[in-house]
Symmetry: C2
Subunit: 476 residues, 2 copies
Amino acid sequence: MRNLSLLTDFYQLTMAQGYCQKGKTETAVFDLFYRENPSNNGYAIFAGLEQIIEFVENLRFKEDDISYLKNQGFNDKFLDYLRNFKFKGDIYSVPEGSVVFPKEPLLKVEAPILQAQLLETPLLNLINHQALIATKAARINEAAKGKNVLEFGLRRAHGPDAGIYGARAAVIGGCVGTSNVLTGKKFGVKVSGTHAHSWVMSFESELESFRTYADNFPNNCILLVDTYDTLKSGVPNAIKVFKEMKEKGIESDLFGIRLDSGDLAYLSKEARKMLDQAGFEDAVIVASNNLDENIITSLNLQGAEIDLYGVGTRLITSYDSPAFGAVYKMSEYSDQPKIKLSDNIEKMTNPGDKKLVRIYDKESGKIRADLIALKNEEISENEDLTLFDARDTWKTTTLKKGSYQLRDMLEPIFKNGQLVYDSPSVLEIKNYAEKEKDSLGEEYKRLTNPHIMKVDLSDKLFDLKQRLIKKNKMKK
Amino acid sequence: MRNLSLLTDFYQLTMAQGYCQKGKTETAVFDLFYRENPSNNGYAIFAGLEQIIEFVENLRFKEDDISYLKNQGFNDKFLDYLRNFKFKGDIYSVPEGSVVFPKEPLLKVEAPILQAQLLETPLLNLINHQALIATKAARINEAAKGKNVLEFGLRRAHGPDAGIYGARAAVIGGCVGTSNVLTGKKFGVKVSGTHAHSWVMSFESELESFRTYADNFPNNCILLVDTYDTLKSGVPNAIKVFKEMKEKGIESDLFGIRLDSGDLAYLSKEARKMLDQAGFEDAVIVASNNLDENIITSLNLQGAEIDLYGVGTRLITSYDSPAFGAVYKMSEYSDQPKIKLSDNIEKMTNPGDKKLVRIYDKESGKIRADLIALKNEEISENEDLTLFDARDTWKTTTLKKGSYQLRDMLEPIFKNGQLVYDSPSVLEIKNYAEKEKDSLGEEYKRLTNPHIMKVDLSDKLFDLKQRLIKKNKMKK
């Protein structure tokens, strides 16, 4: 286990010492939320909670941390506090793999202010990474329209963790597996891959390299055909080897070719014809090379004959949108609701200790809207429910009782510092995420200009917010 | 120490088993190079070597790795090989902090093919991350024109390593410090930061929050002034507190304000006037909020009064260009030079065991060009040196003997598996990188449309490449 206790911004520690010094031990409530969907998607996939749990459970300051901080000028009273630190608060969160939307609380920490504050940076770091990659993976899988997608990006990830946990998030977002062996081992997800150009180049001929590969891995025999010339050399040599395998009576579980350069639409169609003509209708065609949701969509439109996509750089870095932008804001301190003002109403925070209620259409099972309400407010399924836009308040919708169902999205993870939640396995989370995506109408899932899901405030929260805006403006 | 031995692509292991099975133990030479500078910069900063050394030194397969691989279907002969694995080859590299250019070998591995192949993914992962962030940091520091830049991005980094080693790389690229405490502890770099909006919001008034902060941290007292209203509330309250400190006779090492929203050019100029009028000419103004090299350049052009920039998201993710794109290609196998063909001459690799020679102008000390040559070729300072463009071969330049100096860029790191290199400290690397940047003419450092550094091939390498292209084309 790595010691990541100092994985935080310096100012969290200066503030913590300040709170310690001043004896401020009141409870604060912080919300973790984000403001915009990455890549202009219609939703995001929440991920990273298991790593948050691991972090919080292991958050202890060791003597070498303490002596480092002493050298940085922190005082003994505070260092003694850290020496005995153990998280004592509550954490609520939406489950990993949940479909989520901007501005709603995804995770909530209630703890003595010093403790809640200390969690800010690591929690944001973990969620901002994994939610980003899970969301990008969901987009890419949406584009693949049921064809399988493999995560291939380790070499372009931002360091080891970005590779390991990025692959985890990619599987949650919809990928069937990864090339990353360590992720496979850690999380029990499927790993795959066959060989590179260097394999071919290390033999006297491409044919000999294919033959050797097939001898070694008859049951997972995807031959990379573009080292010299895809259609004149690679595919014919692959077919020769598949024939030899057939003659030897080998029935392969998985065999085929991989295209890694050139015009993938044209080459895949030509290769498909050649494979079919040789009697290998069951040979699969894998494609890789700077793929993303746009290129995959274009390949589909061109009728490319690709069975499996390997996606690297643009998935593991979320290339067009490489930051998720979740923030962590105080909404209550010492039982007083708090708001952060801004000239831009979109940037004002929602005050108070809150809950997130998801509203489903009873008939279709699809999400109608999300509602942010105060924690102790009762939202009942037994009455008509009127929703209104928090900015354009004249925009209202009334849902008849009986036509909708409610779900409380925030589940308890820690209570009084005790873990009260069992993390599902990554494959369980992946299956849950598939169901979550099914709960979205198609119009929310399209890749360009998706519908914007309504995320509304309850009457009571709206009123509280207006009151606090006025009160805080008067402070000026 | 984490066990990262399985941090690799699955195909590296299938190929390795294939080599093991076939008894292929010949030496291969692999070059690590990149094709394009990120963010259209004129150069890149090489970083990540210390972590490569750590990885290679610790590359052992433990029993739990072996049993995982056994379950994946690998055979006992290969697993026995892995059980006794220890890297036995040579690694050469340019030093960390070096200014480097596209297509030249930055790092070279010479080892039995199986071993050289096994290093591909982790080496690329480490370099692709750190060279990316170091290069982005160099751009941002270039824009800051001598003003200090701090790295503030941990919360938006792609997981813990991206934060820890991203901050390391940012310091190498030119930042004076980071907010990341763990990076400070691990690498002895300066950490800084003061307080967040939540600090202010947890007090009854902004003034009380500032006062408490100043009491606790008189010597590093940067007050965040935009929680309520920067010019009407934040700056006047900060000035009030600075006056109280003065009255108490406190002489602060560092005090001032931080702006984190709004029009930073306007607010910084107004705040500067207010601070100066109150007699606090030595109060510093720190700015943050989605900064990058373009916004910093614009702030400079507007005469913003900013002393210190805190840069987060766009540095730690290299937002506009989030992948470095280094690759690792075989250039020799069993003493035979190898080439990877492509329809695009830019994508063809340079064959053979090579060296990288940097040519400096003797008078100015600036880099004239880089020359890629065969390892055993003698390039002498005692003759005129004619360089030519590898594509437009009629473009030649002749350097008179005595007017230039040569430097061999690739230094031995491992010899026969033994580490023969002392990693400098991060601050030493940072200082070296500053000198490296000084060896570039201004025209290579400008942020838009920089000069392209000449990276030429020696006559012998050029001839070898042409010969292999013809030979391989005939293979088709």
